[in-house]
């Protein structure tokens, strides 16, 4: 369970990017975080695994306070938090298998990492997970030879290899075509329930957010202004979150929507 209390992030003396944020995520729910570019979605996620340093506030994962950790304690907490990135962030020159195994770097020794001698249990887990998402036959291919959707699947497996207590996804589908993004969202949704894993997903596409998640959190200018079920995220909520001037990406097969079809630049 993730409890965020009074989280603030401010760069220098500027206006805060995150303002007094409270959020609680239980059990195995899939939560979508929506908001315009600059609303603070990415900052929020990165504060959880401390890729960005919170200015003040508290973040507790299963009772452990994350904000003041340093050194090896910080690394221990990071290995329990899986992250999937918009740009996939795979090690392009290494094979799929090595990328997947690199999810265990928080658990193996430096020597094992250097010589690629990972424990057999890790290798078994790797094969099982790769089969589950359908990329096992790519195990020895270089990561940069895969398509975007395949690469994101490798990234998901890497995150799962950490045996995480929570999965964070920072706009995992923004670089993918519509069909592939649906596949990835669907994958995240099923994995969440199969592994009883809470998942936080930053997402632009409100339609997909509604379809694949149990709860939607809307952010605007660093504050949370909507928190509720997908079915309650109506046009008013949309306007409140996005300000009504720019509209988020909508699927063209949504009947009856008045919103314009403009593409929003990614955050």
């Amino acid at each position: 369970m993730l409890e965020i209390t009074s989280l603030v992030k401010r760069y220098g003396n500027n206006d805060p990017v995150l303002e007094d944020l409270d959020l609680t995520v239980d059990g195995s729910s899939v939560v979508a975080i929506v908001g315009a570019s600059g609303a603070g979605k990415s900052t929020l996620l990165r504060c959880i695994n401390r890729l960005v340093e919170p200015t003040s506030g508290s973040i507790r994962l299963n009772g452990h306070e994350l904000v003041d950790l340093r050194g090896s304690a910080l690394r221990h907490s990071r290995r329990r938090i899986g992250m999937v990135f918009q740009g996939f962030n795979l090690i392009d020159r290494l094979t799929v298998m090595e990328n997947v195994l690199s999810g265990r770097l928080g658990y193996v020794s430096l020597f094992q990492a250097l010589t690629r001698r990972f424990p057999q249990t890790d290798i078994d887990r790797a094969f099982n997970l790769m089969e589950r998402v359908g990329i096992a036959h790519y195990a020895d291919k270089r990561a940069d030879q895969l398509s975007g959707g395949e690469r994101q699947r490798v990234a998901v497996v890497r995150a799962l290899m950490q045996e995480p207590q929570i999965l964070l996804a920072d706009e995992p589908t923004a670089s993918l075509d519509p069909k592939t993004s649906q596949q990835i969202m669907s994958l995240l949704q099923s994995l969440a329930s199969e592994m009883s894993l809470p998942v936080l997903i930053n997402i632009h596409n409100v339609t997909q957010a509604r379809m694949y998640t149990d709860r939607i959190v809307g952010m605007r200018h660093g504050q949370m202004i909507f928190d509720g079920a997908p079915k309650d995220f109506n046009q008013d909520a949309l306007d409140a979150v996005y300000g009504g001037i720019e509209s988020p990406e909508e699927d063209s097969d949504e009947p009856g929507k008045q919103a314009s079809q403009t593409q929003e630049a990614s955050a």
Partner: protein, 269 residues
């Protein structure tokens, strides 16, 4: 497509397959053999190797503190060094450009000129500046002329090769367009090629000038003028503290040269 039996058994993975492993170990082994051979065969007096840190330190202490009394002579020698570098870089341009033109596959008139151009560039590059200096000192006697010619002859290869590559990498479309207007070869070069290679040209000249400053500092060691003459003189007299001053002056020159070249690069490119 997973075989059930395989699924139940241990799944093995290794980073490199058999063949790759063999090749890697082969390379390591070959390198190791080469190192052992080189070390054993080389004409090194091993006691000197272990004594080396000591010796280096003792030389260092003999060079401290630097002796500034001859700084007048040092300063004019430094100036001479800069002149050698600058003049030769300027003069090289006139030779290197035509050579690079004929050494580039897309602009050379025919095969013979291509090979001639390439030959000139390769010989120029393969012979080190100092060796050129040796040759010119033997011909023209000690002095700055030998130095200038030496730096020139070496720079032709450097500038010519890089300019040739720049010419080969131009976009062909403007060339086609100019030819379509009925322009003569020279005009095509002037309008379609020269503008495209200008940025590369300036970058290369500036880079080579920087390198030439460094090269010019040592020409004097074989008698071809510049600060090297003073350096060799001081070393012969074991005047290590003067040597230290000269080395300091060289560092200053190199740093100033780097600063000037990075400013030039920003302004011109």
């Amino acid at each position: 497509m997973v075989d059930h039996a395989e699924k139940l058994a241990d799944r093995l993975w290794s980073r490199y397959d058999r063949k790759e492993q063999l090749i890697r170990y082969g390379i390591y082994f070959a390198t190791l053999v080469a190192v052992v051979w080189a070390v054993k065969d080389i004409d090194i007096f091993w006691p000197w190797v272990w004594d080396a840190p000591n010796q280096i330190q003792s030389l260092g202490s003999r060079m401290w503190p630097p002796e500034f009394s001859a700084w007048n002579a040092i300063f004019s020698a430094m100036l001479e060094t800069v002149h050698i570098a600058t003049l030769s870089t300027m003069l090289t341009i006139f030779i290197a450009l035509p050579v690079s033109y004929i050494a580039a596959q897309n602009t050379t008139p025919n095969k013979v000129t291509l090979w001639l151009g390439r030959f000139i560039l390769v010989s120029s590059r393969s012979v080190n500046t100092i060796i050129w200096a040796l040759l010119f000192v033997a011909i023209f006697g000690p002095g700055v002329l030998a130095g200038i010619l030496a730096v020139m002859f070496r720079s032709i290869g450097f500038i010519g090769k890089l300019m040739g590559e720049a010419i080969e990498e131009i976009d062909r479309n403007p060339v086609e367009a100019m030819q379509a207007t009925g322009a003569s070869k020279m005009k095509v070069v002037l309008y379609a090629i020269v503008p495209q290679v200008m940025p590369a040209f300036f970058a290369i000249i500036i880079l080579r000038w920087d390198i030439n400053i460094r090269e010019s500092t040592v020409l004097g060691l074989v008698g071809a003028g510049g600060i090297g003459v003073l350096l060799q003189g001081s070393i012969d007299l074991f005047a290590w503290q003067t040597v230290a001053t000269i080395l300091l002056a060289i560092i200053v020159l190199v740093i100033v040269g780097e600063a000037v070249t990075s400013i030039l690069r920003k302004k011109v490119i």
